[in-house]
Amino acid sequence: MPRTFRIWDAVAVVILFGLAVLLVRNVLLNMQDAGLEPGFGFLLGQAGFDVSESLIPYSPDDSYARVVLTGLINTIVLAGVSLVLATVLGVVGGLVSVGPSPAGRMLASGYVELFRNLPKILVLLIFFVVAVNGLPPVREAISLGPVHISNRALYLPTLEWDRLLWAPILSVLLAAAIAIGWRRWVLVRFARTGQLGPIAPVTVGVLIGLPLLAVVVSDVPIIPSTPELQGFDFQGGVRVSLQFAVMAAMLGLYHGAQITEVVRGGIQSVPRGQFEAASALGLDRRRTMRLVVLPQVLRIVIPPMNNQYVNLIKNTSVGIAVGYSDLMSVVGTVINQTFRPLEMMLVTMGLYLLLCVAVTSLLNQWNATLRRREGKP
């Protein structure tokens, strides 16, 4: 029943336009009354407060814009690490939960139920309290050579930056490219001639040999920076703060539980016939999984994984409770100081949206590639 006049379109436009005009008018009036100009100029003002950790140089003298950037970077790093962790946990959990071991199955389902039924803020608080109590204070840090663990942070040695370090970094990238190229070439030749060349030895060789060569040839001064206890804290090296570790663990376990369910559902949705056909071809259980089941599962689970990843990115915002200076925490302080809730919320929501859209479209693209490879539209 196609109608010529799209009345609901018109209604939607009128209502939304009217509502928008009304709301914007109210906001502007309210702000005008309070003597506030809507705008983002305040972002250049001096922030005046410090954050718990920052990957870019930051001091309280810097601008609000810079502190927001600091928070954003912290959010991205946390989300990245937790994504990997959750995926690994979820895949392992999913495999165990359909595996042959009854104990494993019970463990997996206990894990899923536990995290499915508790609010994440509670889980986070419990983790944090257990971690600060369980780990030693910084003066009694557990030291494993140059690595130190305390309830404040994990301290790792690192290399003093030098411009010449570019050589080994570039060589690692080059080695990776060569390894990938070699693998592809071997596979192509295999498809054509049926002759299989060595993949693993060449890959390992290139990946180790080339950087080593680069270091020797370019004569890079390798100056390690090791953390040393000085005054109140360890100096030197890099530190991974406890709140970061706790947040990553919480997000990893929390979403790992949900990904376990996704993976389990994916594996179970692969028809039984596939398993039978694979074993008829003489494939053992592991190969059946790797060559037959997982590729199919991958395609099934990408859409729900997409959801999980987006949720995980958004859930990084509960870090505020335990003192991880993420985007949300920083924005809360900025709002308290400037009373610019409207502008700051627009910025924050925009940034989170951007992150989520970026991850979603990456996964969608991958999904499309997989479908194309399988010859599906």
Binding site: P2, W8, V13, L122, I126, A321, G332, T348, Y352, V357
Partner: protein, 353 residues
């Protein structure tokens, strides 16, 4: 017997399985010992003096005896707490009834069901807030603890459902492209931002959008924000259900002479809702658990009243008891919801076979 022995054999079928069995057995034993010791061996029983809690490391029952009402109802006027309990009970009954309706244990006609919901919510608000029928008025700042948690969760879910239905229908149809685009943009934006930002918008930005001079208390402000937030999630779940319907359904309905609203209301929507129930339940669990985040804008839900309970100078070392109490509540209520979700999932899987 054979199945038991087969199961026992499976436990040690392969080295990996044996390892898992031993590892999980050891872990369970360790966990069980700690739980037993905290709940029983080291516990201070209700009849023991409260002072014993400072000496023994286990569960302090005197604390729970003293503070359970505070954790459940916060600063709700003490002699009116029967109203808050009644309201909570009413809302819980509503939730359980809905669960049974979903899995087909209760079979109420849709209209009756909707009417029960409306009546239940109205009555709950009346009980909590008073101000009519001779009940003294209790402002929403006093609705603390359990009642505000269930009220916000249930009212937000109830309000978000119609919003979700409308959004899903708008996004699913082809006739009105502009409407569809609006719905799509709204859903994607709402799903791409954290709930904390949405709560902040409710508390800080919503008042700005109201006509100059009006004041909106945090509870209604947050409720509005939650409704529009969860609505987008429900819309996506429902859209999945709508998309899984075959085109034939629509064609059959329209060949019977049914218009769009009749086709949708009588034929497509009921089926789509049934099909999307498992994912809807998942969203509902998420919505319910996330309600505890309102604590950041100063609404005193159970996590907040739990904090009040151990900030009393006389009971300051009982934080763990308070959090375990709240944790158990969440665990049990979510387990009920998950059980419903699993049941629905199983039904759907058997339907598909």
């Amino acid at each position: 017997m054979t199945s038991v022995s087969a199961w026992a054999k499976d436990l040690f079928a392969t080295p990996l399985a044996a390892f898992l069995t031993l590892a999980s057995g050891a872990f369970m034993a360790w966990l069980g010992w700690h739980v037993l010791s905290w709940f029983v061996l080291q516990a201070v029983w209700p009849w023991q003096p409260a002072g014993a809690c400072d000496v023994q490391s286990g569960l302090c029952w005197p604390f729970l005896v003293e503070k359970t009402r505070l954790i459940l109802f916060g600063t709700y006027p003490f002699d009116l707490q029967w109203r808050a309990s009644l309201a909570s009970l009413l809302l819980l009954t509503l939730a359980v009834l809905t669960g049974f309706q979903m899995i087909g244990r209760a079979r109420l006609p849709v209209l009756v069901f909707v009417a029960i919901w409306m009546a239940g919510l109205t009555l709950a608000v009346l009980l909590l807030g008073g101000g009519a029928l001779g009940l003294s008025s209790v402002p929403s700042v006093f609705w603390n603890g359990l009642p505000i948690l269930i009220f916000l969760a249930i009212a937000a879910i109830a309000g978000a459902f119609p919003v979700g239905v409308l959004l899903a229908l708008a996004r699913d149809q082809q006739t009105y492209p502009i409407l569809r685009r609006f719905a799509t943009i709204y859903i994607e934006v709402a799903r791409g931002v954290p709930m904390l930002t949405v709560i902040f918008v409710g508390v800080f930005v919503l008042p700005l959008m109201l006509p100059t001079g009006t004041f909106i208390a945090p509870v209604p402000a947050v409720l509005v924000a939650l409704i529009f937030f969860h609505g987008a999630y429900f819309a996506e779940d429902l859209r999945g259900g709508l998309q899984s319907l075959s085109v034939g359904q629509r064609e059959a309905a329209s060949s019977l002479g049914l218009g769009y609203w009749q086709t949708t209301g009588l034929v497509r929507l009921p089926q789509a809702i049934t099909r999307s129930l498992p994912s809807l339940v998942n969203s509902i669990i998420g919505a319910y658990k996330d309600t505890s985040l309102v604590v950041v804008v100063g609404i005193h839900d159970m996590i907040s009243t739990a904090r009040m309970s151990f900030n009393d100078p006389d009971w300051r070392t009982q934080a763990l008891e308070a959090y375990v109490f709240v944790g158990l509540w969440f665990f049990l209520s979510c387990a009920f919801l998950s059980a419903i979700g699993r049941r629905l999932q199983m039904e759907r899987e058997t339907d598909q076979l």
